[in-house]
């Protein structure tokens, strides 16, 4: 039986330019994920010679990806890491991508913005830390990236700074209907059909969503945004090179205190060195600190760009408890994207609570393997009990708590004595909740359970877990307490930048993907605006906010009607 032959969506690919290693490229970007993909595209379009090193493969979705949970493990960072502390984080498939597109290949693609209050948690609530930028400085980039991905969602989104979305909301699946029903019964406002970076209608050459449910196994359809299809094709068309299966091992520091390039292992395991006039580390919250720490050298014995001792610290995950409700009627939660409805009604600090900050409640759609493990955790099911629970799979709906966890210095990435297949020391991640975190998680879980009961569930249980990662190389104005400045430039080394989720000082209760890409576009505008000054030995820093370069957006960005709110 041959079955259906699919000529899957594939971005138009220009022949890729190849740079010589002895040639000093302008920007060498380590990690072609959510941030790296956007940076690569912007800088290439602005005329810079850019190379992206990516530890994983350059995906060919129709060939490499499958509609299958067990067959998708290659999308995740499976190299060894050690996880500990009082509240160890699950890594791998939970939060760590590998391959071109990085986390944006396996994200569920919820794209809420941070709220204005997120940038001032210390001033407002006495917790966390204030960002060196305000919401208004990031807002144009939120609007820009919502067009570039683009994002589907309601015409009026009421929380934070109210706004509307360029693509219409998605139809509801069974889980979204349960969330809408439960929230409505409790008089809680709810966002229906987004915001999610999945196409509700075709966009340029990309087709619309088919509701197959395998979003986090990689979207073969091409409907879910990943930088693999939204930005990398335009980067290549403008002369960028992506060197895949290239594992960065050490950043080289020259005698003049400026970096000169990056050592890496190629696919055959051979050591190589790419020269560059500037380096941007975009390896996400664990691999970015790991690379800086592994790049310790005379003058930076504690790790490159780590004079503050902050590299690896203030690592954050969000509370991601999954609340499961069993209904008499069928739900079939494998249909529709896991991400299609949410409420941020409990996002902000509420004086009636015994904790600061807040949480969101979102739809999730676990497939059978994930759901079975949730039954193992939430009900301690095994044996015949597990078989019985699983036979009711189609009767369950799942909501995800997304709760803010505060930054703490001791939640950190350090180097383990263990080594990987390249001989590089692997990351040791230590994570510990504080009192505010515990109170917030308890309150958020109980509220989410209340919504599930109100939706009509006959049984409600929950699995405790964490979602996402940010921090580890945070931005700030004070070089003594942060790694990079407000544009991502390291305080210590003038031509070394960090741009990815690791620069976030706090995280709110929003999924971080949109913020990471918006920050990358802003850093790119800064670099374009600064021009060759980045490559000269002067340590003078341009402090002005760069102009928004809409002309550097990928094709097909424009010509969309966006609901405009005054």
């Amino acid at each position: 039986m041959n079955g259906v032959a699919v000529n899957g969506y594939r971005p138009k690919a220009a022949p890729m330019r190849r740079y010589d290693e002895t040639e000093s490229v302008d920007y060498l970007i380590v990690g072609v994920g959510s941030a790296g993909g956007v940076l690569l595209q912007r800088l290439a379009r602005a005329g810079f010679r850019v190379v992206g090193l990516e530890a994983g493969p350059f995906w060919e979705p129709e060939r490499d990806w499958v509609s299958d949970e067990a067959g998708s493990h290659g999308l995740y960072w499976e190299d060894p890491r050690v996880t500990g502390g009082s509240d160890p984080l699950a890594l791998g498939a939970n939060n760590s991508g590998k391959g071109v597109g990085g986390g944006s290949v396996h994200w569920a693609a919820f794209t809420p913005r941070l709220h204005p209050s997120d940038f001032r948690t210390y001033s407002l609530d006495g917790v966390g830390v204030d960002w060196p930028i305000a919401y208004d400085e990031l807002r144009p980039y939120y609007e820009q990236l919502e067009l570039e991905m683009p994002v589907a969602g309601p015409a009026y989104y009421p929380w934070g700074h109210p706004h509307g979305y360029p693509y219409g909301p998605h139809p509801m699946g069974g889980v979204g209907n349960a969330l809408v029903r439960g929230c409505s019964a409790l008089d809680i406002p709810v966002s229906i059909g987004g915001p999610v970076a999945i196409l509700s209608g075709s966009h340029g050459e990309r087709p619309h969503c088919i509701y197959r449910g395998f979003c986090i196994q990689g979207c073969k359809v091409g409907a879910k945004a990943s930088t693999l299809i939204t930005h990398v094709p335009d980067a290549l068309a403008n002369g960028a090179e992506v060197r895949d299966r290239a594992m960065a091992s050490r950043i080289e520091l020259g005698r003049d205190g400026r970096v000169t390039g990056v050592h890496y292992y190629d696919d055959a395991g051979a050591e190589r060195f790419q020269r560059a006039r500037a380096v941007i580390v975009a390896g996400y919250a664990i691999e970015t600190p790991r690379l800086l720490l592994n790049s310790a050298c005379p003058g930076f014995e504690r790790g490159l760009a780590n004079s503050s001792g902050t590299v690896g610290r203030y690592l954050m995950a969000q509370a991601g408890n999954v609340i499961l409700g069993r209904f008499d009627e069928l739900v079939r939660m494998y249909k529709a994207p896991p991400a299609h409805a949410l409420t941020e009604e409990f996002y902000e600090t509420d004086a009636r609570n015994d904790f600061a900050r807040g949480f969101a409640i979102q739809t999730v759609g676990p497939l059978p393997i994930a759901f079975a493990k949730q039954m193992m955790a939430a009900k301690k099911a095994w044996g015949w009990g597990l078989r019985r629970e699983m036979m009711d799979y189609n009767h369950w709906a799942a909501f995800g708590l997304l709760g803010e966890i505060l930054p703490a210095a001791d939640n950190r990435v350090t180097l383990s004595e263990e080594r990987d297949r390249f001989g590089l020391r692997v990351a040791h991640v230590s994570f510990n909740l504080c009192d505010n975190d515990r109170k917030l998680i308890k309150a958020g879980t109980e509220k989410t359970m209340e919504v599930m009961w109100a939706a009509g569930a006959r049984e409600v249980v929950q699995e405790a877990r964490y979602a996402h990662l940010v921090g580890g190389a945070r931005m700030g104005n004070d070089p003594a307490t942060s790694v990079v400045d407000r544009f991502g430039r390291t305080h210590d080394v003038p031509n070394l930048f960090v741009c990815d989720g690791s620069v976030l000082p706090t995280q709110g209760s929003a999924n971080p993907g949109l913020t990471i890409q918006a920050l990358a576009a802003r850093t790119a505008d800064y670099l374009v605006s600064a021009g060759d000054a980045i490559f000269t030995s002067t340590s003078e820093r341009v402090e002005a906010e760069p102009p928004l370069r809409k002309d550097l957006a990928p094709p097909a960005t424009w010509g969309k009607g966006v609901p405009r709110l005054r």
Partner: protein, 260 residues
């Protein structure tokens, strides 16, 4: 019912208390088959799923004796005694394949050894527990006695092997072996048929998103009553909703609800 070390009792009809007949497809979706839809899947998915069914990897990592031991454990963790022998999922082969290629999920808990070592230590601990509780090696016990031993591990209340449980977390070990069994069983299209999961739907799409309505190729649910074998210990579930924090939840094992 008398039991010997080789018997795995079948689930029963709760009215007659008689064992259910063996079936090719248990569950509430009789007549439903994901594999029947394979011509509607694209090639990469079809290859991965059909290989899982038709090309079970031969054992290469476990020694024969270890493979026999873990096969029995997995038959308790994820029993298949209600299935005809030709429709049982080869969990041991899938676990052997993972350990053989030394594939990890991308992290190791600081209180756990690497997975291969965890399996080695785990077998020692289970045998020690078996001797302490029932006076013999795990494989020499009856089904009910083996259920006893494993339920002590499930509850995190071992009576033996203290030295091993100091080297690895008993709760993380339990998650590891049950998780491996889940990874193998619920990856299989026969398990999808059992639970009514629609399976791959690219490029055809799902179109009936609401009210749990079936696609034209799916079937409606037809429930029936069944009970686990009398001597099984694993039909109990507990509600651990009071534990909001992962580090507390994974340690908590307080049986609270039994279905029977």
């Amino acid at each position: 019912m008398s039991e010997n070390r080789d018997s795995f009792p079948r689930p029963i009809d709760p009215q007659t208390r008689e064992p259910l007949a063996l079936v090719e497809q248990p569950g509430y979706y009789p007549g439903y088959s994901t594999l029947r839809e394979r011509e509607h899947w694209e090639e990469a998915t079809r290859r991965v799923v059909l290989d899982r069914v038709d090309a079970v990897p031969p054992l290469r990592y476990f020694a024969a004796d270890d493979a026999a031991f873990w096969s029995i454990v997995f038959e308790h963790l994820l029993p298949q005694a209600d299935r005809t022998p030709n429709r049982r999922v080869a969990i041991i082969n899938a676990v052997d394949d993972r350990l053989g290629s030394d594939r990890s999920p991308g992290y190791r808990f600081a209180d756990m050894p690497p997975d291969r070592e965890a399996y080695r230590l785990g077998r020692e601990a289970i045998d020690e527990e078996s001797r302490a509780v029932h006076g013999g090696a795990f494989r020499d016990l009856t089904y009910a006695q083996r259920e006893d031993v494993l339920s002590l591990l499930h509850d995190g209340r071992p009576r033996a092997a203290a030295a091993i449980w100091q080297r690895m977390s008993i709760h993380r070990f339990w998650q590891l072996i049950v998780g491996d069994a889940i990874d193998a069983y619920y990856a299989h299209p026969w398990a999808w048929d059992e639970i009514g999961f629609g399976g791959p739907a690219y490029p055809r799409a799902y179109t009936r998103l609401e009210r749990g309505d079936p696609e034209p190729w799916e079937v409606r649910e037809r429930r029936y009553s069944w009970a686990p074998p009398e001597s099984a210990r694993s039909d109990e579930t507990e509600n651990v909703r009071a534990f909001h924090i992962e580090a507390e939840q994974h340690r908590s094992h307080e049986p609270k609800e039994r279905r029977r």
